[in-house]
């Protein structure tokens, strides 16, 4: 066997500055620590997956990126999340403005009980959009790969759509306010396999324009769709039985799924626990 020269172990990531720089991020609910000392950079126009066993703080972490956790009483964040260099938890930063730049799609599709058209137009109207609303609605529905299915029934209630269509409508609604980042908290876990594939394909399209962070229970989904993967795991204080999430390993998805560096990552992705 001829020996070939070793290739560099890691694919060099994009050289652009990160969208988010997370430094020593910890999160508490009341006195209870939920997430401890997370450090990571989120690359622009890439898909970053967050994986880990139940209760490891995946959803807590993704909700830190647009200050959604603040809606829970007693939630406290320490450390910092720099969004293009600016701390989103800094004094004077309006969480509503943060959420306009950093949109979110939830596990269960949650369209408003309004027409398909209004679902997309709603956020834009609130934000004072002055352009051609019909054009915006069409553009966003096309971007969300839903236009062809709904173009003749825009006045129909969004609740009449299938689960997969509702989720794509929620993506259309999220991009209508022209965000920079889309957070997806298990966006396909309530969908059937065909609808799941459509969302996954759509993500590949969307990453040309948006940075995407996705929480998923489905490791194969993380392997299929993401460019980078963060593995979170639960640490336990034996004395008090308190549990909190830590970031064990963060790297290129291909590396995490072929040559994980940490034994815990190896055991989790290969199904030895979790």
């Amino acid at each position: 066997m001829n020996t070939v020269e070793a290739r560099p172990a890691e694919v060099t990531p994009a050289t652009e500055p990160p969208v988010f720089t997370v430094r020593d991020l910890s999160m508490r609910y009341g006195n209870s620590l939920a997430l401890k000392d997370v450090n990571m950079d989120i690359s622009p126009r890439r898909i970053t997956a967050i994986i880990g066993p139940s209760g490891c703080g995946k959803s807590t972490l993704i909700r830190c990126f647009n200050r959604m956790n603040e809606l829970i009483p007693g939630a406290r964040v320490s450390g910092e999340i720099l969004y293009h260099g600016q701390d989103i938890y800094g004094p004077g930063v309006d969480p509503v403005v943060v959420r306009r730049h950093i949109g979110m799609v939830f596990q269960r599709p949650n369209p408003f009980p309004k027409s398909i058209y209004d679902n997309v137009a709603f956020g834009a109207k609130i934000n004072g959009y002055r352009g051609d609303m019909d054009e915006l609605v069409e553009r966003c529905l096309r971007r969300a790969a839903l236009w062809d299915e709904v173009k003749s029934q825009l006045k129909k209630s969004a609740l009449d759509l299938s689960g997969g269509q509702q989720q794509r409508l929620c993506i259309a609604r999220a991009i209508a306010v022209e965000p920079d980042v889309i957070l997806m908290d298990e966006p396909a876990s309530a969908l059937d396999p065909i609808a799941t594939v459509r969302i996954e394909d759509l993500m590949q399209e969307l990453k040309k324009d948006y940075s995407i962070i996705i929480v998923t229970h489905n490791m194969q989904q993380a392997a299929r769709v993401s460019d980078e993967t963060a593995f979170l795991y639960t640490e336990v204080d034996e004395a008090t039985s308190h549990r909190w999430g830590i970031l064990v390993e963060f790297g290129e998805t291909s590396q995490i799924f072929t040559r994980p560096k940490d034994k815990r990552t190896e055991d989790y992705v290969s199904g030895r626990f979790g």
């Binding site: 066997m1 001829n2 020996t3 070939v4 020269e5 070793a6 290739r7 490791m219 194969q220 392997a223 799924f257 072929t258 040559r259 994980p260 990552t265 190896e266 992705v269 290969s270 199904g271 030895r272 626990f273 979790g274």
Partner: protein
């Protein structure tokens, strides 16, 4: 978690060890058949190749089934990739032992001569067999530290091969040419068996370290 999957993966891994033992045996037997011009033993080596081919197909099928149904990742993925490649190496090594036995089995094949040639052919066959045996041990232990030793042994095999060719080139008797050509082929087959054994060691390194340089 995924117990059935990991048990099947382990079982296939063990099949590689069993197949390796068969290759080791056929390499040894083909060497004996060659040196002693034992046509019955050569026939046995040829007959044994069928079992090796069946094992090869079984290992390949079971590995592909695991890939399709279990989507292995990380160390499991590297192990299956290594198994599929080692499987090929062992099957090829088995074919080479078969090819040698087939030459021995030819009606006009005679015991290698002169003595120097016979002794080199014998040494070469034994060295290739030992190398294969050690490679299977490395596979069974998955200890990449031992894999480096295989390369050194392969250098010794290459040296013996070169010496054999050199010895054959010294033969002056025209009548010895057909036999010399066959022995040159035999030498090349043993040398290839040793290469496949080294590949087994490299694939252990790949499995353990994930370093793709070993897949060259």
């Amino acid at each position: 978690m995924r117990d059935a999957f990991h048990k099947e993966l382990e079982a296939i891994d063990q099949e590689i060890v069993r197949m390796g033992a068969l290759i080791e045996k056929s390499t040894e037997e083909t060497t004996t058949a060659l040196v002693e011009c034992n046509k019955a033993l050569a026939q046995r080596v040829m007959d044994g190749d069928e079992a090796i081919d069946e094992m090869f197909l079984d290992i390949e099928k079971r590995s592909l089934t695991l890939m399709a149904q279990q989507a292995p990742v990380a160390g499991d993925l590297r192990l299956i990739v290594a198994i599929l490649r080692v499987n090929n190496d062992l099957e090829r090594a088995g074919d080479l032992a078969y090819n040698i036995a087939k030459l021995v089995h030819l009606e006009d094949f005679r015991e290698p001569s002169p003595k120097a040639v016979k002794s080199l052919v014998s040494e070469l066959g034994l060295a290739a067999g030992r190398l294969m045996s050690n490679a299977i041990d490395v596979w069974a232990s998955k200890d990449e530290a031992y894999a480096a030793g295989l390369q050194q042994q392969d250098d010794a095999v290459d040296d013996l091969h070169a010496r054999l060719i050199n010895e054959l080139l010294q033969l002056k008797d025209e009548a010895a040419i057909p036999s010399a050509i066959r022995l040159a082929m035999v030498g090349r087959y043993f040398e290839r068996i040793a290469d496949h054994a080294v590949n087994v060691g490299e694939l252990v390194c790949y499995y353990v370290t994930g370093d793709e340089a070993h897949l060259g």
